[in-house]
Amino acid sequence: MASSSRTRRLLLQAGAAVTAQVLMKAAWAQPTGELAAAVAQFAGGQAVRPGRVRLEISPLVDNGNVVPMRVRVDSAMTASDHVSEIAVFNEKNPQRDVARFTLGPRAGKPDVATRIRLATSQQLVALARMSDGSVWSDTVDVVVVLAACIEGE
């Protein structure tokens, strides 16, 4: 009896610890390390502000080899005010870069989609540079069940 109640207590403690970890991770929304460096390099001295960009990706990815992803930016795309560049960076693939898109007023609508690879559960950042030079961002956490390029790890 005593041992089973101890097991139960241990299980409860472990559960609480995992919950705390998840909560802490959620609070840790700011990019760090190499990802932050890649973002800073793209921004080129401009302040990176959250907002205007939406990175749409499934929060739970079954297969990391093919992950549909979409980036939308809030912009009218006129000659004087448009999105000039969109970039997507990741945290834990072998390289930080995922893709860069060059747009202009002729693009009509700042809405691009592609399919990417994710090596593991990680953070993704989408950045948009406007024609006035300002840089906007969106950060998303994704959980990957089956990782891409398992053999290479």
């Binding site: 995922v98 898109f101 002729r106 693009a107 009509g108 691009v112 592609t114 690879r117 390029c149 290479g152």
Partner: protein, 106 residues
């Protein structure tokens, strides 16, 4: 010649924003994966994609190994005049392919 799949409307009204999607058959070998003999396979990816509308660049993309095999790209453009959309993929090991599609603007 790699197989491509390009979708865009056949006709559009002037000023209408149309969606264009382009896919090309390509392995997008990352350069991090070992092959059957245990040695790392050299990188072989599509580096750049560009879409020109009557010669004017409307959308371009720079791709990295994190893009899935058979790269798919969807984007938008404004239908201005009847003409041709030219899609160009360039990549490692001298890969280059150009496809053209007509667009009728009314």
């Amino acid at each position: 010649m790699a197989r491509t799949l390009i979708q865009l409307p056949a006709t559009a009204r002037r000023g209408e924003v149309i969606e264009v999607s382009a896919l090309i058959a390509h392995p997008m070998e990352t350069g991090y994966r070992p092959g059957a003999d245990g040695r790392v396979l050299p990188r072989d990816i599509v580096r750049r994609f560009a879409c020109r509308y009557n010669g004017e660049l409307v959308f371009a993309a720079e791709l990295h190994p994190a893009i899935a095999a058979n790269p798919y790209l969807a984007f938008h453009t404004v239908a201005t005049d009847s003409g041709t959309l030219e899609f160009e993929w360039t990549g490692d090991q001298g890969f280059r392919q150009v496809e053209r599609r007509p667009l009728q603007v009314t």
